[in-house]
């Protein structure tokens, strides 16, 4: 218990559970369009059942793909996310996941290795000690959740683009796809231009301390130009690929680009 309260000082456990229930995926959520209750109001107001069909769902998917393209088009690789002074850091920085912290991956840093796959010259796995020896930078940026809340945190680690260069990644590939240690196999694709953004970071520390379990020990990918769910925690592998392999939340309907 003492260890846990050290990891997330001041976090209310009841709120944590409430939060995790709120974000828990379930069958009704996957079938979001068919949620009749939510459409009653619209049907009432417009007098026609415009949304109770799979064609509406298909239309929304197409618009979401179009929105991916628009966001990619307006993405400026040189535009930096705002940085903040230490005094602006949100305390405590919230733990957020679709599970309780007790169920969060508890990775043994001694056994852990980062697997590197796909379109790279050097596919060797990296131990935590090897990664810790890479040059690191600290950035204080705002984490914006898809739910709307945001929090400012201090993240320290190695710019992902430096690591991609180091392993000889084909940076003309479309995606870097991350797989995580979560029990449901959390994964998420990151478009290459965002992966190469100067602030996109392989994060090993939070607030100058080794990354706590709550925030993704041993390694989180911090992408200040993306919404929070595009910042995978407990990362176990990365794959440089041209294939769109989907992602945990992306497959359930969240917009894939989700840039900020």
């Amino acid at each position: 218990m003492a260890k846990r309260s050290f990891l997330i000082p001041g976090v209310d456990k009841r709120l944590l559970i409430k939060d995790s229930i709120k974000t828990m995926p379930d069958v009704t959520r996957r079938r979001f369009i068919a949620g009749g209750a939510s459409l009653g109001a619209l049907t009432l107001l417009t007098g026609c059942d415009v949304v109770d069909s799979s064609s509406a769902e298909e239309m929304l998917k197409q618009v979401s793909k179009f929105n991916d393209a628009v966001q990619s088009f307006i993405f400026n690789p040189d535009a930096l996310a705002p940085t903040f002074p230490e005094s602006a850091i949100t305390k405590p920085f919230p733990f957020n996941a679709y599970y309780d912290l007790d169920d969060a991956p508890d990775v043994d840093g001694n056994d852990w290795k980062l697997e590197v796959r796909g379109l790279v010259d050097n596919k060797k796995s990296w131990t935590l000690d090897e990664l810790y020896e890479l040059p690191q930078v600290t950035q204080i940026t705002r984490h914006i959740c898809v739910e709307g809340w945001s929090a400012i945190g201090s993240w320290t680690g190695t710019p992902l683009r430096d690591f991609l260069k180091l392993i000889g990644a084909d940076t003309r590939a479309k995606y870097v796809w991350f797989q995580c240690a979560d029990k449901d196999g959390y994964n998420s694709p990151l478009d290459m231009r965002s992966a190469l953004h100067p602030q996109t970071q392989m994060t090993f520390k939070y607030a100058n301390e080794i990354l706590p379990r709550a925030y993704g020990f041993p390694m989180k990918i911090r992408v200040p130009t993306k919404l929070g769910f595009k910042n995978p925690k407990y990362v176990v592998s990365m794959e440089v690929t041209n294939d769109y392999k989907g992602g945990y939340w992306e497959d359930q309907g969240y917009n894939s680009f989700s840039g900020s």
Partner: protein, 209 residues
């Protein structure tokens, strides 16, 4: 030239004149649909992380859950943006805004508010907006611009950082977006109520006369 310099008196004298031109009617109803989609899906998104101590009832949200709400919101966004831009451009270019909404004077507004509250406000000539209408319509256009700008600031706080600066910071943009929504809902209630009280104004917005 005569037709270009026609006075208000001459316009009023013309029988069975078009009160609401076709472009106004089309854009009005497209906007009505877009706004309803934006509000209901917006409530769904709000419920994922409420700013205040309440949530919107599920029956009045669109999308079923957060991702569905977001998909609807970012689809209807295009409808609202394109229609809204076309409305603003046409409104200014044709001089309709200047003619219908100006001038707005404090004394005029006070007079018409008093008249409205005592049910003495006339609606005989639908081509001329009273001062309360002018204030509400001009105001809701400003709110409409604000809600789009604050929405864009929340959607792309890095790429459109100058918009975030305009509102102060990211959380402030969220509050601005919410209060603009509240203002639009309040406007909607009054607007629909008045349209029902003066049915010929509703007819004019449907068939033009």
């Amino acid at each position: 030239m005569a037709s270009l310099t026609v006075t208000d008196e001459q316009v009023r004298a013309t029988p069975a004149k078009v009160i609401q031109p076709a472009w106004v009617r089309v854009m009005h109803w497209v906007n009505a649909l877009a706004m309803i989609l934006m509000i209901l899906s917006g409530w769904q998104i709000y419920n994922a992380s409420p700013l205040f101590g309440f949530s919107f009832p599920r029956e009045y949200t669109l999308g079923g859950w957060l991702a569905g709400g977001l998909l609807w919101h970012f689809a209807a966004m295009w409808l609202l943006m394109i229609n809204g831009l076309a409305y603003l451009i046409t409104g200014f270019a044709t001089g309709r805004f200047a003619k219908k909404l100006l001038p707005i004077t404090a004394s005029g507004v006070l007079h018409d508010v008093r008249a409205a509250l005592t049910f003495k406000l006339g609606h005989d000539d639908l081509t001329v907006y009273n001062y309360v209408q002018r204030l509400l319509y001009a105001g809701i256009i400003v709110v409409g611009v604000l809600i789009v700008l604050s929405g864009l600031a929340m959607w792309k706080p890095v790429q459109l950082y100058y918009l975030v600066m305009l509102f102060g910071d990211y959380p402030t943009a969220r509050y601005v977006h919410f209060f603009c929504m509240a203002a639009i809902c309040a406007f909607l209630v009054i607007h629909v109520l008045l349209a029902l009280l003066v049915p010929k104004s509703l007819r004019a917005m449907i068939i033009g006369r």
